[in-house]
């Protein structure tokens, strides 16, 4: 990762990524003496049961005395939970690892004088360079480092919130006077790439007045993400409410009354978690229609943690609703007779709603004849029905007189509503299934 500098320098930069340390976990081969010295059922023998315990307890590893020069701790269990192999020992990050958008890049930088003489008037700078910008992380020219003696080093820690994707270069530079009094310049380059930790897929569905937004968060990193918060910020005039399923398993109460909330863990390399939001227009009238027409629903703000609480935070771009979620005309079936007899007329009760802010109609309604299959449900009588105009945001009820010419499951399909003034055709009704019986 570091490019070798030209010439011979007394100084050199050493760099270590300083994300949070990790717990060391390794289930060990550590035993209890009673599981090694004797057979497992020996305590069934009353003689053994009463006499072995004193012998065994004298060999249990009770010793934490540092003068006890044995490696008993690697062989015997000192405490029952030693078997877990999780003592609380922390390990430094062992590799540079991957860096993701939304995280904080933190690095330990040490500049070492590996020569045999002092270097003077040292000025150190550290800078992050991306395609778009250069960010200064450290500049000691105002508070000079001064002198680094032979074999000495000067350390600093830098942090940078990662807000851009792609290639990064951390440039560390040192200006110094070497042993011969020569002013030297040492640049060192450390390269890394920032990737996207998550992707968010959305689906928008509209049911009557309510819009549902489903967001699926997928983890593309190599470690688990623990979701802290996912907040939806709705666009103006929208309100959003998160919908949660009822808990399958009610919150576990421990004997001290502690309420346990299961964590949301999104597993590494492709794990997902879904969120469902119910959205409504918050203001009525013409603003409502404007909001619907603009189709911007809002943004998701996601904050998460990785190893030992290491935080990350991202915001999505604007999430769009489907423009066609706004219908001008809506037809609803209010009633169908429960018994439909072959060749006998029946009446279907419908409601037509005008969702626009202007009067629509008068209308003509008919069943289209252009479909691929033969029709077995048709208007009884006049093949076109007239409907009066409907005012803005209003609705009207009407009945269609139909007849079915074939038994079994049939469909009322291809219902056309035609606005005679605007000369506009709507097909606002999905196929309706009916069951036709014989007399």
């Amino acid at each position: 990762m570091s490019t070798t500098p030209q010439g011979i320098h007394s100084l050199a930069f050493r760099v270590m990524r300083l994300c949070k340390p990790s717990f060391h976990v390794e289930p060990p081969f550590r035993l209890d003496p009673s599981d090694l010295f004797v057979g497992e059922d020996i305590f069934d023998d009353p003689l053994a049961a009463s006499n072995l315990s004193s012998l065994l307890s004298s060999h249990v590893n009770k010793s934490t005395d540092s003068s006890d020069m044995t490696f008993a701790n690697r062989f015997l269990l000192h405490h029952p939970s030693d078997a877990m192999g999780f003592s609380g020992l922390l390990v430094l990050p062992q590799s540079f690892g991957a860096i993701y958008l939304g995280e904080t890049f933190c690095s330990y930088i040490s500049i070492n004088n590996s020569s045999n003489f002092e270097v003077k008037d040292v000025i150190i700078k550290a800078e992050i360079q991306t395609e778009r910008e250069r960010i200064l992380l450290l500049d000691t020219s105002k508070s000079p480092v001064g002198t680094i003696h032979a074999g000495g080093h000067y350390d600093f820690i830098v942090e940078h919130d990662v807000k851009e994707l792609g290639a990064y270069t951390m440039v560390c530079t040192a200006l110094y006077n070497d042993g011969d009094g020569e002013r030297k310049y040492l640049p060192q380059f450390f390269k890394f790439v920032v990737a996207n930790p998550l992707s968010v897929r959305t689906k928008v569905r509209t049911v009557k007045e309510t819009t549902y937004l489903e967001a699926c968060i997928e983890n593309h990193t190599k470690s688990n993400l623990y979701v802290d918060q996912v907040e939806f910020e709705p666009a103006p005039y929208w309100t959003a409410k998160i919908l949660k399923a009822d808990e399958l398993y009610p919150a576990d109460n421990l004997s001290t009354g502690e309420i346990v909330k299961p964590p949301i863990i999104v597993r590494s390399g492709g794990g997902i978690h879904n969120y469902l939001y119910q959205m409504k227009i918050s203001s009525p009238g013409s603003e409502q229609v404007k909001a619907k027409r603009s189709s911007i629903l809002g943004k998701l703000q996601i904050s998460w943690r990785t190893n030992l609480g290491e935080p990350g935070r991202l915001q999505t771009q604007q999430i769009l609703g489907t423009p066609s979620s706004c219908k001008e005309i809506e037809l609803q079936v209010l009633g169908i007779p429960s018994l439909i007899i072959l060749d006998k007329p029946f009446s279907v009760h419908l409601n037509l709603t005008n969702h626009t802010d202007r009067e629509l109609g008068p209308f003509e309604v008919w069943l289209s004849k252009n479909s691929a299959h033969e029709k077995f449900v048709m208007f009884n009588g006049l093949q076109t029905m007239a409907l009066p105009a409907v005012e803005a945001f209003g609705s009207t009820d009407f009945h269609l007189n139909l007849v079915a010419t074939k038994l079994g499951v049939q469909r009322i399909s291809g219902l056309i509503v035609f606005d005679t003034i605007e000369k506009k055709t709507f097909e606002p009704l999905a196929d309706v299934e009916i069951f036709v019986e014989s007399d």
């Binding site: 050199a12 050493r14 760099v15 270590m16 717990f23 390794e26 289930p27 081969f29 035993l31 009673s34 599981d35 090694l36 010295f37 004797v38 057979g39 497992e40 305590f43 069934d44 023998d45 009353p46 003689l47 049961a49 009463s50 006499n51 012998l55 934490t64 005395d65 540092s66 044995t70 701790n73 690697r74 062989f75 029952p80 939970s81 078997a83 877990m84 999780f86 003592s87 020992l89 390990v91 430094l92 062992q94 330990y108 040490s110 590996s114 350390d155 820690i157 688990n224 623990y226 802290d228 421990l254 001290t256 346990v260 909330k261 299961p262 964590p263 863990i265 943690r305 030992l308 609480g309």
Partner: protein
């Protein structure tokens, strides 16, 4: 139902003739067991292999349970030396742990009226643990869960026959296997399973402050800071409510250090490294051999930009309490620090590596120094 509480024996113990006491010393239990145990305590696993081999070839082992105990030490030594396939093969040579060949009642001339299995429980444990080292994690998990069922059946059986000492021992083994399982699930980052298993123990009256602390560590790991603080608070309460005759496995020093280390972790995760160092120093004052405090303090010093002192802390502990401080994790951390502090770090790492070679037990994994 029985909780995990020590049950005192009310009936008087059968009288022993001191001249024929079968349980006076380790050597009464098995041929030269004291010597085997001493080698194991010193980590001289190669010597154990030699001793077992010699005892076998010279036919020094007269009884079947002697053979089994020696086999246990041999298999354990092979695992310690990371010869996992060899260990597995030797275990396989027993064919079936539950065979009548390994029951006391099969040899009434040797064991008189004693009955039951003479297989040391360690063999069952090692048998379940080995697959993980051989890359068969699923097999290992299955083995442990089967072992758990086996143990629970034993507890039932012993209970029915009122064998209270046996019930105690098998309950201890049940707790042991549960801890092994928690460790394996933890290693695979299956945190929800770990939390369930730990809560199962706690909800069945197994109130171990160390276990509750580890619950807290896991909660910290997954970002449930409120939950973790609750767990640590609970541990402090357990310390404060502790009675003087408490038969808990923790000494006063250990308990206090546990509480300090828990506090330190909260500070550390909150990036208040100065306070974390202060807590760890309290631990080290009480017990200079508290290697978790030593190691973690050194790491905090690094995060405080004090690489030189972090190295000193680790080096000092190796000098003062070598048998406790010398572990692979501490060595890995020290080597990472060396690599950062020195441009030419191979020399200093080699010095460390040579020292380790002189002092360390046979099972120390020297690859941790990356020399």
């Amino acid at each position: 139902s029985l909780g995990f509480v020590v049950v005192a024996l009310d009936e008087p113990s059968p009288t022993i003739d001191p001249l024929t006491n079968q349980f006076g010393s380790l050597n009464d239990l098995s041929h030269e067991l004291a010597s085997l145990q001493d080698l194991a305590m010193r980590g001289s696993w190669r010597s154990i292999l030699d001793k077992v081999s010699r005892a076998r070839s010279l036919d020094l082992l007269t009884k079947p349970d002697d053979h089994l105990i020696y086999l246990s030490y041999n298999v354990l030594a092979l695992t310690k030396l990371r010869r996992f396939s060899d260990a597995s093969n030797e275990l396989d040579s027993l064919h079936d742990f539950n065979s009548h060949h390994y029951k006391y009642e099969t040899y009434p001339k040797l064991y008189h009226t004693r009955s039951g299995s003479m297989v040391p429980f360690s063999l069952r444990f090692i048998h379940a643990q080995l697959p993980f080292k051989l890359g068969n994690r699923q097999e290992g998990l299955d083995c442990f869960y089967l072992l758990l069922n086996f143990i629970r059946q034993k507890i039932k059986d012993k209970g029915i026959h009122s064998l209270q000492e046996s019930v105690k021992i098998w309950r201890k083994r049940e707790v042991f296997v549960l801890h092994c399982l928690i460790g394996h699930h933890l290693g695979a980052k299956e945190f929800n399973v770990c939390l369930d298993l730990i809560r199962h123990l706690i909800n069945h009256d197994y109130l171990d402050p160390v276990l509750v602390s580890k619950l807290g560590y896991i909660q910290m790991q997954i970002g449930d800071f409120e939950g973790a603080k609750g767990s640590f608070h609970r541990v402090e309460t357990m310390l404060n409510e502790r009675k003087n005759d408490d038969s808990s496995a923790l000494s006063e020093v250990e308990f206090r250090n546990l509480v300090n280390r828990n506090k330190a972790l909260v500070f550390l995760v909150g990036k208040d490294y100065v306070s974390a160092v202060r807590e760890y120093e309290e631990c080290m004052e009480r017990d200079p051999a508290d290697v978790v405090a030593v190691n973690n303090k050194a790491l905090c010093l690094m995060y405080l930009r004090d690489l030189s002192d972090s190295i000193k802390v680790l080096e000092n502990s190796l000098e003062r309490v070598p048998t406790v401080a010398l572990n692979e994790t501490l060595a890995v951390n020290l080597c990472s620090m060396y690599e950062l502090a020195y441009v030419n770090h191979s020399e200093i790492k080699r010095t460390l590596s040579n020292w380790i070679a002189r002092v360390a037990p046979d099972d120390f994994d020297a690859s941790c120094t990356r020399v």
